[in-house]
Each structure stands twice: as C-alpha cells, then as structure tokens.
C-alpha cells in the first residue's frame, strides 16, 4: 500500500504495511499524486520488529512502522537542508518559539501554559518532533504528522525566533547560552547522520543555527510567570 503526503514543502511517498500510518497522515495526504516525489520511504519488517522489541512499553506494529518511517524521513531530510529536532514549537505573531528538554522535564506543560497566556494568539506548530529547514537563509520550523502522544500540531510553518532549553527550577530564571553549551544541549535533541557527506551538510546546518539563532536556558516552575519570563527574553 502507498500514499503521498506533503510536509516541509516536500512530497513524500510512503509505502506501508499497516493502517496506522495512513490514519496518522490523513490530513497531510496529497489528493493528486506526483510522478516524482521528493522522497520515497519504505521500511522493512525487520526494522519494525526491531523497533517493537526495543520499545519500553507494549506497542503495535503499526505504531512501530510509523516510528521507523519518520526516522527514515529524518535521514533523507539532510539533502533538503532540513532535520528533525526533538522539541515543542509554539507559533506566536507569525514566529516560531522552540522549546527543548529532556523527556519528562515538562516542555508540554510549559508550552500548554503559552496557549493559556496567549489565548487565541498562540498555537502549536508541533508538540514533539518538528522539522527544521533552512530556506532563503532563514530557519523555519515545520509541522509534521508526528506530533507526540498529545497530538499537538498543524500543517503550518514559521521562521524560528529563538530556541529555549527547559529545566525545572524553583524560581523563574532565563539566560542566554553560548556555543559550547549550545553544542552540548542541541546535539541531544537531534539525530546525527551516519554517512560522511550527510554529516558534513548536517554540521553546516548546526553551525548556521548556532550562529544565527539565539539560544536560552530557562529554569522554571509550572506557572504563567514562567511564560512571561521566557517570552520577554526570547522576543528579543
């Protein structure tokens, strides 16, 4: 079975075995299929069962196929000056505010507070695994059908305003982070390519991102005040 989706301004053909992925991508499916999609993705039964074995909780084959498919897409994105980043992206006033944290720190909790604070003005581009793509010398955050368990996201994109790493804290404090710390924190949120040529392109993207995008570290409580602290710094 196969279908084509449009995401990140790319046409991607997905060849699949299970129904799960098609349902997940429903809103992204192209009505008219292209002869030459930008990429064709197919994962093997072996990849799927390997994924299932390594899962910490019980998951279906369909779910595992979806995870494998996204990983395969991620690996091919390098050729399009794009990469997958683990994080939550909030759109506000046409710009993307990116939040990244270790699992369980509370990027969903924090970004939900943005929705509350900027009611009607802020929305999710993607709550879990957005794609970042360089276009015309600007970095854009794109929505994708992979939106995490909360399913927060849409088919929009916006230029990245700033990236904020989150940590839990008693007080709300934000500070700028510089190169060495950016590298240590950013590389935990991305998937490194394996092949030499791809690594070279990927590292150029990381370099540009480090030089052009402001990065912050927010230590915060679960409060609307934390949103104010983050917004005041990140809006620049």
């Amino acid at each position: 079975m196969k279908f084509q989706i449009k995401m990140v301004d790319l046409t991607i053909e997905i060849r699949h075995r299970y129904a799960y992925i098609k349902k997940q991508c429903e809103a992204w499916i192209c009505k008219e299929e292209m002869m030459r999609p930008d990429m064709v993705i197919e994962v093997s039964e072996e990849d799927i069962s390997k994924e299932k074995k390594e899962a910490e909780v019980s998951v279906t084959e369909g779910y595992c196929e979806s995870i494998c498919i996204y990983r395969a897409i991620a690996r091919k994105l390098t050729a399009f000056s794009a990469f997958v980043m683990h994080g939550a992206v909030v759109e506000l006033d046409g710009e993307a505010y990116v939040f990244a944290a270790r699992s369980g720190v509370g990027k969903t909790t924090h970004t939900k507070l943005w929705m509350e604070y900027f009611k009607g003005k802020a929305s999710y581009i993607n709550g879990d695994k957005p794609v970042m793509r360089w276009r015309d010398n600007r970095l854009y955050a794109y929505g994708t059908p992979w939106m995490g368990k909360e399913n927060f996201g849409c088919r929009r994109c916006a230029p990245v305003k700033a990236v904020c790493f989150l940590e839990r804290g008693l007080e709300n404090k934000i500070r700028k982070v510089e190169d060495s710390e950016i590298v240590n924190r950013l590389f935990k949120q991305v998937l490194l390519p394996v092949e030499r040529e791809e690594i070279i392109v990927f590292m150029e993207m990381m370099d540009r991102m480090t030089e052009r995008i402001p990065f912050y570290l927010l230590k915060c409580s679960i409060s609307l005040e934390a949103v104010e602290t983050a917004y005041e710094a990140m809006r620049g």
Binding site: R196, I199, M203, E204, M206
Partner: protein, 88 residues
C-alpha cells in the same frame, strides 16, 4: 598513539565537534565538543604521535609554558581515553 579512524571534526559556532562516521557510529554514540586547542591536538592525533611530540607542537603554536601545556594535553588525552577514541 593516534585517534581511531572513522571520526570527522567540523566547526559548529566557535566549537569544533568530533562525530563518528559510518561503522564507528555503532560503537561510539555521541560527540566530542572541543575548543580551538582541542581541535589542534585532535589534528595531531590523526597520525601516529607521542605525548612528547604533542607538547613540542603545542609550545611552538601557542604562547604557553611547558607545565600548562602538559596539563592541557593530559586532560585532553584523558577525555579521549574515557570515550575510547584513543589507540595506544
């Protein structure tokens, strides 16, 4: 001693980041985040060298004294040993 094959160093901001390529990525996950001196020392290790040679090279390149340079090199090599990138 020398650095194991299969690693690539690239510039990211003001840092130099060393990552595994191809097969090396199966045994080494992650990266090294180096400053300029670290990058200089890494380049020396692309061929077979000794601690003594590294020290001489560093003293020729940088405005530093023998003791400081020696300490720096030892710290750097320690980092490489911990991550298993060094061949001795």
């Amino acid at each position: 001693m020398k650095a194991k094959d299969g690693f690539l160093m690239r510039k990211v901001g003001e840092r130099r980041v060393v990552v595994p390529v191809g097969e090396a990525s199966e045994s080494f996950r992650g990266m090294l985040n180096l400053n300029e001196t670290g990058a200089f020392l890494w380049n020396l290790l692309s061929g077979d060298t000794t601690e003594e040679e590294m020290l001489d090279a560093m003293l020729a390149e940088y405005d530093t004294n023998r003791e400081e340079a020696k300490k720096g090199i030892e710290k750097f090599l320690q980092k490489l040993r911990e991550t298993g990138i060094l061949e001795e």
